[in-house]
């Protein structure tokens, strides 16, 4: 079930000033049904006209709260960062399919690049509660632009790479993955920039690879067919409805 809710903002705090924010919103219905890897569509103001898709970072089912981790990029996310505690915000969700979470006692890598780490926290919590053994691999541009690491640390072991080497391993997250003994890993779940996802595709045979994609969205509901990505069979799939999570094998990054 998809809901349109006008939720009260409980907190909207900068993790990095003018750049990375964590917002928590009272969204009773959405919280009830939200699955890891799903996202919401937010009306951030009069303009931009379109809603903005943001992944679900965390859910507090007991209290009906949804948290979102977001990066200010343009007008929409800038508007979002302006919401204050006590104000109300218009949100549609939960949307999309989400990651496969019926896994038990497996060894799973959760790989995130930049703001793509957002959906991995709630995902990690769910997978851990089912007895899986996890490792987060998080990529940032540099130490000063790293964030939310402590959240992930509370769930499982975290390894970090930065492009400039100022924190953790130098280079993109692949630098870490390639050093691991992948033979014990049964699944890799990832979200982040396309080059990172493309890189991970090389593990599509060895592990259950699931990739969360981004695409420019109109409706977010599967109706307008604007947010497509190309599948291996040459057909198009809707990122908002058929995704945002796809099996690595399904997706071709040709276009």
């Amino acid at each position: 079930m998809i809901y349109k809710e006008i939720g009260k903002v409980l907190e909207n705090k900068a993790l990095i000033k003018d750049s990375i924010y964590l917002i928590t919103i009272d969204l009773q219905n959405i919280a009830k049904e939200a699955l890891p890897g799903q996202f919401v569509e937010i009306k951030t103001g009069d303009l931009p006209l379109l809603r903005k898709p943001i992944s679900i970072f965390d859910v507090d089912k007991n209290n009906g709260l949804v948290s979102l981790l977001y990066q200010v990029r343009g007008k929409g996310t800038k508007n979002l960062s302006g919401f204050k505690s006590g104000e109300y915000i218009d949100i549609i969700g939960p949307l999309g399919n989400g990651f496969t979470i019926d896994k038990k006692e497996q060894e799973i890598l959760l790989v995130g690049g930049g703001i793509g780490i957002a959906p991995l926290y709630y995902l990690g919590k769910e997978l851990k509660s089912k007895g899986n053994s996890l490792k987060f691999i998080l990529g940032y541009s540099c130490k000063d632009e790293s964030y939310a690491v402590d959240f992930f640390r509370q769930v499982a072991e975290v390894e970090i790479s930065t492009m400039d080497g100022s924190l953790g391993c130098k280079g993109h997250v692949g630098r870490i993955v390639e050093k691991l003994d992948i033979s014990k890993v049964t699944a890799i779940y990832a979200c982040g920039p396309e080059p990172m996802l493309k890189y991970l595709k090389k593990f599509e045979q060895e592990v259950d690879l699931e990739l969360s994609l981004e695409a420019y969205m109109g409706c977010g509901l599967g109706a307008c067919i604007s947010c497509v990505c190309e599948k291996t069979d040459g057909s198009y799939a809707r990122v908002c409805k058929d995704g945002p999570v796809f099996k690595g094998k399904e997706i071709s990054f040709n276009e």
Binding site: L49, G218, L221, S235, K241, E255
Partner: protein, 302 residues
């Protein structure tokens, strides 16, 4: 009495508020929000004779307070519609209006024939697409081609035929007259303006297909003007659309000459827009002591 009862000649709707083709899927995607039977009608997303993959992404972008799209008529084809979509849609309790596009005049005829089945309330004929037999010139930009399509569809169906006008023409009244003389029962208007947006970082059009259809609030003044002009010229009813976001917008279109309206891009912004407008029109009719919303159709012409 239902003061929003909407009589478009051969097509009767429970109210004059429909949803525009391409912005509402087949309705299914909006079912979680509300009971679709409250709508005047659903213009189903553009259907073609054969399945189409559609254009390469990026297919859509917001610009200048509106939206540019170039979906390329991605759809499963008319048989898929009949087998997989209509069986569910016909039970929504609202008029299912199928929006059809063809590469040739014959395509339109064959689709009209195939779609003349119970459950389909009317055909909306999209003529903004290129005529492959005429160097890719859009059917909707040449009066004779538009008239021919209208006649072809009429000859292949008993359903009410709605001809959907393209705004990318010099003389919209002439286009209205052409489709009326071709036998159209109703005119819907406007389809999208052709627009473009450029990514100055990459020095490329943002939309992969270069140009796309521009919709949303910014096109409303053009749409209103065209409804006004076509109302002056034709006798058949008009379904008005183009940037309708709220009740006031809908009333502007009705006063310009529309007998019904269609909500497009606004469905992305707030899926409840059509319901809000139905409610708003009911309130307007009450507050102004009208016996029917019809009293204000074309009001600015008086």
């Amino acid at each position: 009495m239902n003061k929003l009862h909407c009589d478009l000649g051969k097509l009767i709707l429970k109210n004059p508020v429909t949803v525009a083709s391409g912005t509402f899927g087949s309705g299914k995607e909006f079912k979680d929000f509300y009971d679709l039977s409250q709508l005047g009608g659903i213009m189903v997303k553009g259907t073609t004779l054969l399945p189409r993959r559609g254009n390469q992404p990026q297919r859509l972008v917001e610009t200048a307070g509106g939206v540019i799209n170039s979906i390329g008529l991605a759809n499963g084809g008319v048989d898929d519609f009949l087998n997989n979509i209509l069986p569910e849609a016909k039970d929504y309790g609202t008029a299912i209006i199928v929006n059809i596009s063809g590469d040739t005049t014959d395509d339109y005829g064959r689709m009209a024939e195939k779609l003349s089945v119970p459950g389909v309330a009317a055909l909306e004929v999209n003529i903004s697409c290129p005529n492959v037999k005429h160097g890719g010139i859009a059917f909707g930009t040449v009066p004779d081609m538009a008239r021919e399509v209208a006649t072809m569809v009429k000859n292949n169906t008993d359903l009410p035929v709605i001809m959907k006008l393209s705004p990318n023409v010099t003389n919209i009244a002439e286009m209205g007259a052409a489709v009326e003389s071709g036998g159209a029962d109703i005119i819907s208007m406007i389809n999208t303006l052709i627009g473009m947006a450029i990514d100055i970082k990459n020095r490329k059009p943002i939309i992969k297909h270069i140009m796309g259809g521009y919709s949303g609030p910014p096109i409303k003044p053009v749409a209103l003007r065209m409804v006004y002009q076509v109302y002056k010229t034709v006798k058949i009813p008009i379904i008005g659309m183009g940037g309708i976001m709220n009740t006031e917008d809908a009333i502007e279109f009705i006063m310009a000459g529309a007998s019904a309206v269609s909500v497009g891009t606004a469905n992305f912004v707030d899926p409840y827009t059509p319901l809000n407008i139905i409610q708003g029109l009911n309130k307007y009719v009450e507050e102004n002591g009208l016996s029917s919303y019809k009293e204000i159709i074309g009001a600015v012409h008086r």
